[in-house]
Symmetry: C2
Subunit: 339 residues, 2 copies
């Protein structure tokens, strides 16, 4: 089997926390063709544990992200198993010793891919779901002159304290399993993965989603327990625990101002984003609640607050689970790209 | 040391699931004096893992629950370590073999305490926080002619599917620790307890509570991590894991209609509640969201929806953590008792 994606070799890549990720690899996939003017570029980063495959639901002919019009780049986040990750990095930086990577590190690596490797100096749109939204905000703050448009959805520019706590619960459940062995497991710590999945289940979808039994009526599961096992445990079990924890650290430490450009001044970092932006929270998202998006928009000069009217919680934004929400998102992206 | 509470011996107590809890014990504490007319009775059940001590913040001279005026009975819930529980029941019904007890079983036992043992036939008010609210609803549905007033706060008449899922996460985190040993631990499975605590932390308080840093500014913790360790882990570690899981099962299976009176007809059970009722959700409670309370009130003939305006999440209702919320609750209870 030939891989459907490419690897950009970053070489020895210095990280914010002082470590150097040796022979760092950035896996990416492109769709469509770069036009002669080199002005039809969309960057679309991945989300927590997602790989580029998991982003494809928002791309297609006739959609906003139309490969017949745009050159769409999906860079895989470090830790997701395709770009450098605990699971695919050779000793000594493997497994539990994989260094801490920030969202800023991710976007700086992506910037090298886009500029050095692909020869692109201007981006039309950066967009992404969840941690893809976090990276979208980073693009805007780190390279404010480089793009016209931003559309982070169900994400934030900085991990909120509540979001941090939710992730502590996921991490604690996963690592409570002694089989995790501080990251030096030989066999999958399946109890910990299943526990993390059950913790996540209450956060991923909203109270109303469960009240209205969309897991049964729309997603077609046989019972709540079937949903917890077949959907949630099934989602977590194939994933590498160290990868999950590496990305979780990236998420918890996400902050567009945690770098030498802004020195922790979050409002200044938001204020520096020049691109026309739609900040699109899910109205019932429990860990990226609309209030946080509203606060961000208040400090951004060119941003509009565009909540997604949905009871699908965080899944209002992906991964293509609910057609009504996909239509809403796609329409807003078309609107933005037409402006 | 003399115990500050009494034990009502229930004898061999038949449970809804078919088991008989042998030599069942109901621990309770009373405040104030039963008057000659025997019409000044308030019943105030306990909450998840709480003991009667943990209910005392709402009782006091000058408060709605004034022991100078009312005879206040706090019955301890089965599983809470004082009434019959996995931790205090002798073999063979001890530990992981403690039988499944419903909220209906709890309230039937409390009814025997109140009628048989204390000789009371009429109750002025039943009130309670969280699972205490669940028991309050049960009092109303099981004994609709027995009381004038009900005031469940931050609770529900039936465990919602989302609430069930949240509790699955807590349970999975606790039991992912191999030291739990399916309930036959010799030493405390502290990793599992700590993990359960961290899972709970995101649910107990609202996103806004954490956003506004009330853990630091109002509760006085030094950092978010200090709050997670000193408050949350400190809260869970002293508790017996089997007790926690016994009460968790009671919670997950709470439903005022799951008995032979209503045969699962939830609306009929709500409709049968005659007492004048204030249903008081916390406006930002993440696991007893206001919508569920509104739905309940819609099916109750004599109920009013009275949300607690607070960003303290579930802790808007207790245990006396926020003075502003205590004042709101106390005022509403005074209003109700004056009617």
């Amino acid at each position: 089997m030939t891989a459907d994606y490419k690897i950009f070799e970053l070489g020895d890549f210095p990280l914010q926390n002082g470590a150097i990720l040796r022979n760092a690899k950035l896996a990416y996939k492109t769709f469509g063709t770069l036009n002669a003017a080199r002005d039809n570029v969309i960057v679309y980063p991945t989300w927590y544990s997602g790989q580029h495959y998991d982003n494809e639901w928002l791309i297609g002919p006739g959609m906003a992200l139309d490969p017949d019009r745009y050159f769409i780049i999906i860079p895989n986040m470090f830790g997701n198993g395709l770009s450098s990750s605990p699971s695919n990095t050779p000793e000594p930086q493997n497994a539990a010793r994989f260094p801490k990577v920030t969202a800023c590190d991710n976007v700086r690596a992506q910037h090298r891919l886009v500029t050095e490797h692909l020869g692109i100096s201007h981006i039309r749109l950066v967009t992404g779901w969840s941690m893809g939204g976090l990276q979208t905000f980073h693009w805007g703050a780190l390279y404010p002159d480089m793009m016209d448009l931003l559309a982070p959805f169900c994400g934030s520019a900085k991990c909120s304290r509540h979001n941090f706590v939710f992730l502590e619960g996921v991490k604690a459940a996963l690592t409570a399993d002694a089989a995790f062995a501080e990251g030096w497991y030989r066999e999958k710590p399946h109890r910990g993965l299943r526990a993390a999945a059950r913790v996540y289940a209450g956060w991923g979808f909203s109270q109303s989603f469960y009240r209205e039994e969309l897991d049964l009526t729309t997603l077609g599961f046989a019972s709540l327990e079937d949903f917890l096992v077949s959907f949630w445990e099934g989602f977590f079990l194939p994933k590498d625990p160290n990868n999950l924890l590496a990305m979780l650290w990236t998420w918890q430490n996400g902050d567009i101002s945690a770098n030498e450009l802004y020195n922790g001044d979050f409002k200044a970092a938001l204020g520096a984003i020049k691109a026309k932006t739609y900040v699109m929270p899910g109205e019932t998202d429990l860990y990226f609640p609309p209030e946080d998006s509203r606060n961000e928009v208040a400090h951004m000069p060119n941003a509009t607050y565009v909540p997604i009217p949905s009871i699908w919680g965080h899944f209002a934004g992906g991964p293509g689970t609910n057609p009504v929400d996909v239509k809403f998102l796609d329409d807003r992206l078309k609107e933005l790209l037409a402006s």
